[in-house]
């Protein structure tokens, strides 16, 4: 072998980049339809009464959450894994036929699962557990896809040239292990067709857990799917892409250690905050509440580490839209990980639980932190993967501001809606009777639901700009040389 630099193989990364963009648009489009349905119920039958069963809020809602989590976010995680993994481990996928095969198999099976999920949710085949709606045949397929990804991670690690694992790799490993554990335990179910000797629907199952126990396991999963799907792997991304793009070293290694192990230890306790004032034992509710507040420390540890990485280089935020995306993402991460613990305080939770404030919290996290970081990662990868500069810098800037405005409209309207709702539900008049009927609290939300729908629509418009910019980058942008790809990504005007 001569002494040429390593040529990385981005075949699998490209495939997942494609699904990140496509499923991002699908998931967010469905979300926008849902938002308009809540503001104007007539939208439920927008495709005619014959198709109302499939365009109805209740059928689309799980499709929206699953498309954004498992379609957009996980595609993004895998796209970055198949890019970052090779680069920080200093080994090319092309060096191992087996790993290449695994990567492609990973993608192919994933596509099959996506088709099965969309079909079954539209048909109303669901277990009703949030973000774990799939019936047992799909659950098994998901586990297979997951195991293949695990083999791919540890396979690549096994043949690495760089002996020490970079911070991002810690987070990818944790994502793999965390979701594996959570998903397996929450989806324990018994197929009724086999248990009853061949009666009824073959795909139907019944949960191994009942009532309060089922709720406990579900929210242990539900909250931590956020942890290991929306936090841990996104932190993996920012630890790689922000230093790369800005040309700055990570501010503090010690802080990254503290933040990582702290996050691993604390996060799993926090699920209990979904069950405050429910029928789970009081000590668990308290643990959930207390540990949620403690969680601020490791979360802010990573975010501050990232912000301080920009020390002395803040002019880059003004000059590069890519850095803007990442810095806004870190800022929203801090914001969202402060908001969550506030909502987990018992007295605040009494007001906030079951309201739109929670919906707002989820979305400032997902739109502001997760989606911004994934799009930034794809923008950084595109010139290196396609050997072309990013098609348009001004389009990126436009997208940034449209989407930022969208997020702000979204969470501010949902804050007001949620707190209004909570206050009206609990209001009593001077005789001690309830001051409002339930429908009064629905009617008052209409303006906020409309603002939210506008905010969501703006964000979706930004997604289309993103897709267009990526498409033009792939097809008709100026070619770039390897030497142009150190640090800051080359961008057209």
């Amino acid at each position: 072998m001569d002494n040429r630099p390593l040529e990385y193989d981005y075949t699998v990364a490209k495939m997942f980049m494609l699904t990140t963009v496509l499923l991002g648009i699908v998931g967010m489009l469905v979300g926008v339809i849902l938002a308009w349905e809540m503001a104007f119920p007539a939208v439920n039958t927008i495709a005619g009464s014959g198709l109302a069963e499939y365009t109805n809020f209740s059928r689309l809602r799980p499709l929206h959450t699953d498309a954004v989590i498992f379609g957009f976010t996980f595609s993004g995680i895998w796209a970055t894994w198949y890019y970052v993994g090779q680069r920080v481990l200093k080994v090319s996928m092309a060096e191992s036929k087996f790993l290449m095969f695994l990567g492609k198999l990973h993608f192919a099976l994933y596509l099959l699962v996506v088709v099965a999920v969309v079909g079954s949710l539209l048909m109303g085949i669901t277990t009703s557990k949030e973000y774990a709606e799939f019936e047992w045949p799909i659950d098994i397929a998901v586990v297979v896809v997951w195991v293949i990804w695990g083999m791919s991670i540890f396979g690549l690690i096994g043949i690495r040239r760089e002996k020490s694992l970079y911070i991002s790799i810690w987070y990818y490993i944790a994502t793999f292990l965390g979701i594996a554990m959570l998903y397996l335990f929450n989806n324990m179910e018994i197929p009724t067709y086999f248990a009853s000797g061949g009666i009824g629907a073959w795909y139907h199952s019944v949960s191994m857990y009942s009532g309060t126990n089922d709720a406990l396991v579900q929210w242990w999963y539900g909250h931590n799917a956020v942890a290991f799907g929306f936090t841990v792997p996104i932190v993996a991304m920012i630890y790689y892409f922000l230093p790369k793009e800005s040309g700055q070293a990570v501010y503090s290694y010690k802080l990254s250690l503290l933040a990582f192990w702290g996050l691993m230890f604390v996060y799993l306790w926090a699920g209990g905050h979904h069950l405050i004032y429910s029928t789970v034992p009081d000590w668990m509710q308290t643990m959930g509440s207390v540990f949620s507040v403690v969680l601020i420390l490791p979360s802010w540890g990573s975010a501050i580490n990232m912000l301080l990485t920009m020390k002395g280089e803040w002019q880059q935020v003004a000059s590069s839209p890519l850095i803007k995306f990442m810095i806004l993402a870190s800022t929203f991460y801090m914001f969202s990980t402060l908001e969550g613990p506030i909502q987990a305080i018992k007295s605040v939770n009494a007001l906030a639980h079951f309201t739109d404030w929670i919906v707002g919290h989820v979305h400032d996290g997902v739109l502001g932190w997760v989606a911004f970081m994934i799009m930034a990662a794809l923008f950084h990868m595109a010139p290196r993967v396609f050997k072309r500069e990013i098609y348009s810098k001004s389009l990126m800037n436009t997208q940034f501001w449209i989407q930022t405005l969208g997020v702000v409209l979204y969470f501010t309207s949902m804050w007001i809606a949620g707190i209004t709702q909570g206050m009206m539900w609990r209001a009593h008049d001077e005789f001690g009777n309830l001051a409002y009927s339930f429908i009064d609290t629905v009617a008052v939300l209409h303006p906020y639901f409309t603002i939210r729908a506008v905010g969501g629509t703006l964000y979706l418009v930004g997604m289309f700009l993103f897709a267009y910019n990526m498409y033009k980058t792939m097809t008709s942008s100026r070619r770039v040389e390897e030497s142009e790809l150190q640090n800051a990504s080359p961008m057209g005007a």
Binding site: E37, P41, A52, E53, N56, F57, S58, R59, R61, P62, G124, S128, F154, S164, L165, W170, I173, A174, L177, M181, F185, I190, T192, Y193, A195, S196, I199, G200, A201, H204, V206, S207, S210, G211, T212, N213, D214, A215, L216, W220, M264, F265, G271, Y277, S278, T279, P281, M287, H353, T355, D356, V359, W425, R426, A427, H428, L434, F438, I439, V442
Partner: protein
């Protein structure tokens, strides 16, 4: 130690797994040791109720309606007695929900009638002016899946010892029994008997005709389930 772990991926992975599994072990295991004991008056679901519960799940009613009354005066005033753990002993899966776009339904059987539900599913805004709930016309056409409901009854009876065909204590001191049919045909017959009781209070002629002809539309099963929530 951390530097060493970063050079040994296997031990690194083990360390991560132990760290994340810790909280789950401490929080979840103790509650499993004492599985939910039903409170007095909590009964397993009949075949028709279970089929209706499946309709409820199929249409993600739990996305907008909770089934968990918290121990606050405003909630007990509005929805009835706060929820007790044992009341969910036969709920697989639990249906607490996480968002109240509409009101809580845990005890909806106490204050809504068959007739009200029928009108509400057809045109929610006509019953509750200002409602943003969509209509569910297909529930009046689709047939409820009694087979799967029966399969589930057999499964929970066999695997989790859910007490069908056994005496269950009621709040007033009496005993009651929820029957589990011996065969699928018997289950269908008894579900149809139950469905006739519900359909008698309904207005929709097509639904009445269907039940008279031995069919069970989804709406009938759903209402049987909603009526059982008390």
């Amino acid at each position: 130690m951390f530097h060493w772990l970063e050079k040994h991926p296997f031990f690194f992975a083990v360390a991560v797994f132990v760290t994340i599994a810790f909280a789950g072990l401490i929080e979840i295991l103790p509650n499993f040791a004492q599985a939910s004991q039903p409170v007095v008056g909590t009964k397993p679901y009949t075949t028709l109720e279970l089929a209706g519960r499946h309709v409820y799940i199929k249409n993600s009613c739990n996305a907008c309606h909770s089934q968990l009354i918290r121990p606050f005066k405003s909630e007990t005033d509005r929805y009835g007695h706060y929820s007790l753990s044992g009341e969910y002993a036969y709920d697989r899966p639990f249906l607490w929900g996480s968002k109240r776009t509409g009101p809580d339904l845990m005890r909806v059987g106490n204050y809504r009638t068959t007739d009200w539900h029928e009108n509400h599913m057809k045109d929610p805004a006509a019953v509750v002016p200002g409602s943003i709930m969509p209509a569910y016309p297909w529930m009046f056409k689709n047939t409820a899946d009694i087979d799967t409901a029966y399969a589930e009854q057999v499964t929970v009876n066999k695997v989790f010892a859910v007490p069908y065909n056994a005496e269950i204590p009621m709040a007033d001191g009496s005993k009651t029994t929820v029957a589990l049919a011996a065969t699928l045909d018997e289950a269908k017959t008894s579900a149809l008997e139950e469905a006739k009781v519900v359909a008698a209070d309904m207005k929709d002629q097509e639904v009445k005709d269907a039940v008279a002809a031995g069919q069970i539309p989804e709406i009938v099963a759903l209402i049987a389930y909603l009526n059982s929530l008390k």
